[in-house]
């Protein structure tokens, strides 16, 4: 039953009259060139998460085990079966568990994926490759051609974690959060604002980012999963499922089951033939559960995780008392100064790394300051680690937004994936901090103040 779900129901939406290039005239010259290159334009593929694989390999090596190559292929094929390719994206329907519900729209995905083109109505396709791929890469791994030169590095979506969002903890961002980032950009980073795009296009890209995130999470989850299972059965079974002819599998499930084990034996003759072979359905369902629904639930649940921001106090920016209270908290209880520095210049402790680096940097045997130990990960596609610089608050430019509520969320929730923690303080204290931080650019660095500090009657 599950197999029938995966295969036939995975709709491959045809594009609406796609014209790769709007040729108004078919000049012989161009046709000749096109003819020449027809044979040699490969369609791009998602890049495998080699960094995660390397992490798991290292772990397995400690137990004198190896991560078999066919597992790597299994995962790649399985993920491709679930999510399609950069040209033809797809995703398994949700109907298997609970009510059918759409977490992204296939139409949006199709509009974002594929090569850049537009149809006869002027609807643009290939949005991701037009606007995002330079930095975030075709896989959403933050490793586009330009990425290595940017500071900070572009976001790797595959961990499914985002910094600037309205939800707390590790919860994924809401659609509105992603949309805001796309519209406003992230000041102080290379992420520009895409306000010039049509709203429909922004929505499509938001969905595509979610799609790439979930795809990355599933892939990563499976690498994790497969490296933790015992040697034997499970691995063997996945092999025929994803490599066998699925049309036949659907019709003659019993046959396929037996053929599966045959193929499995062929592939790994040295392994125990009596391994506990679970029925195929169970196997797949297990992976769908583990690798797909688990992550999807988090995304679907994001709307419920939004941190509410209580109303700010009156005259947030013009209240000297609030300002003083905030300053005391900054230097004292809230411990902001430890990283951001006594003067808010971001010159405190700086030897921290963000999650997208630590997830491989903290594996055993890797030392942050010894580039030789990084080599295996750099080769696998990781960037040379860069320590995080705490924000210079005196610039008056905040990456997550300059609104009081943005700052409130940053302080109350912390910033996911970074050393910035969530503070445990009451609402008034948080607002006091917000008031202080927002006024920081105004404060003189030295005590010799020639400009009066904010008072109630500034204007």
């Amino acid at each position: 039953m599950l197999l029938t779900c995966i295969q036939p129901k995975m709709i491959e939406l045809e594009r609406r009259n796609p014209t790769t290039i709007p040729f108004h005239s078919q000049l012989w010259l161009l046709s000749a060139i096109l003819f020449l290159c027809l044979g040699c334009t490969p369609s791009p593929e998602f890049r495998f998460n080699e960094v995660e694989l390397q992490i798991q390999r290292n772990k397995l090596l400690e137990q004198d085990e190896d991560f078999p190559d066919h597992n790597r292929q299994d995962i790649a094929t399985f993920v491709t079966a679930l999510f399609g390719t950069p040209d033809v994206p797809r995703f398994p329907p949700l109907g298997l568990k609970g009510e059918p519900q759409s977490w992204v729209s296939l139409e949006h995905l199709t509009q974002s994926a594929g090569p850049v083109s537009s149809d006869r109505d002027g609807v643009k396709f290939g949005l991701y490759r037009e606007h995002c791929v330079q930095c975030h890469g075709i896989t959403g791994d933050g490793r586009g051609p330009t990425s290595g030169f940017l500071n900070p590095y572009p976001r790797d979506f595959r961990l499914g974690r985002f910094k600037f969002k309205s939800t707390g903890g590790r919860a994924p961002p809401t659609n509105a959060d992603l949309k805001r980032i796309l519209l406003e950009g992230i000041p102080g980073t290379a992420m520009p604002s895409f306000k010039l795009l049509e709203e429909e296009q922004i929505d499509a890209l938001v969905d595509y980012v979610k799609y790439l995130s979930v795809r990355g999470q599933v892939e990563r989850g499976m690498i994790n999963e497969l490296s933790q299972l015992d040697v034997g059965g499970s691995r063997l079974i996945l092999w025929p499922v994803v490599h066998g002819d699925r049309t036949t599998l659907n019709d003659e499930r019993d046959d396929s089951g037996s053929r599966a084990s045959e193929n499995g034996e062929k592939q790994t003759e040295n392994l125990d033939a009596d391994a506990d072979i679970k029925p195929l359905d169970e196997q797949l369902e297990y992976y769908m559960d583990e690798a797909y629904y688990r992550y999807l639930e988090m995304w679907l649940d994001a709307e419920n995780e939004i941190t509410t921001v209580p109303s700010p106090p009156e005259s947030l920016l013009d209240d000297p008392e609030l300002y003083a209270a905030g300053k005391a908290l900054f230097l004292g209880k809230a411990n902001c100064a430890q990283c951001h520095g006594m003067t808010g210049l971001g010159d405190g402790q700086t030897a921290n790394y963000d999650l997208w680096t630590t997830h491989w940097l903290e594996t055993r045997g890797v030392k942050p300051l010894d580039p030789r130990t990084h080599q295996q990960f750099i080769r696998a596609g990781a960037f040379p680690p860069r320590s995080m610089k705490p924000r210079n608050l005196r610039l008056g430019v905040f990456r997550g937004g300059n609104r009081p509520e943005d700052l409130y969320r940053r302080i109350a929730n912390g910033i996911d994936g970074t050393p910035m923690p969530a503070v445990s303080m009451d609402v008034a204290e948080v607002w006091a901090l917000v008031a202080y931080v927002m006024r920081l650019p105004d404060e003189r660095l030295t005590e010799d103040r020639t400009r009066p500090m904010p008072t109630g009657d500034r204007r």
Binding site: S166, G185, P192, K195, L196, T308, N402, R403
Partner: protein
């Protein structure tokens, strides 16, 4: 030429047309002379052995000289009003900050003064009222950018470390495009922003909306 939306653009279009006419006439005359010269030549016509003519040389030195100097003087009026005669004593409507690869626009916040902490920030969207003078202050955070609005015929490089000012008088309301016109890196093509010229009343409404968005409206979530 794209639609013209400011007084300066109108002037410039006239100027363009006039120089175009001068150039067109010159091209037509020289082109015809060249064509006729080629057409009537034949290997059998006897050639007049001349190596120059003082009168002709003087004629085609002086006449173009006069035309060129006249053009130069004539067009400098536009240059002067636009670049030298700034409206005096007016505060810029907005501060334009260019960075790789975004346009940021800052308006005076509740305190009514530009360049203070409560400035309102808008990314890639500039709105100006259709008042008599619209002044803008241009900054760059990193490399040289160029503030270019084709419909206003305005182009001003923004050199980092220097504050530039531009001004114009809108003649109609509507939507425009801001583009970066100086190569500023790989994302140069992406440095585009929306701009609109609106009536003063609408401008105030928009600014209020921006203030609510920027400072929080107190009724969140």
């Amino acid at each position: 030429m794209p639609q013209s939306m400011s007084r300066h653009a109108d002037e410039l279009d006239h100027l363009f047309k006039e120089i175009n006419i001068v150039a067109g006439i010159t091209l037509a005359v020289t082109g015809v002379v060249l064509f006729v010269a080629l057409y009537r030549s034949s290997p059998h016509r006897p050639v007049k052995f001349v190596s120059g003519h003082v009168g002709l040389e003087f004629a085609w030195t002086l006449i173009p000289a006069i035309i060129l100097v006249a053009l130069a003087v004539y067009q400098s009026g536009t240059w002067k009003t636009n670049k030298i005669d700034f409206p005096k004593g007016e505060q810029p409507i907005a501060r334009v900050v260019a960075r790789q690869f975004d346009w940021e626009f800052f308006y005076a916040g509740p305190d009514g003064i530009l360049n203070t902490v409560d400035d309102l920030r808008s990314v890639n969207e500039l709105v100006v009222p259709s008042s008599e003078h619209v002044l803008l202050e241009l900054h760059s955070l990193d490399v040289i950018h160029s503030f270019s609005v084709p419909k206003l015929r305005i182009k001003q490089d923004i050199v980092p470390g220097t504050v530039h000012r531009i001004w114009f008088t809108p003649t109609q309301v509507g939507k425009l495009e801001i583009i970066c016109a100086e190569l500023c890196g790989w994302g140069h093509y992406n440095m585009q922003a929306k701009m609109s010229i609106v009536s003063p009343a609408e401008f105030d409404r928009w600014l209020n909306g921006l203030a609510n968005n920027n400072l929080g409206d107190g009724n969140l979530d």
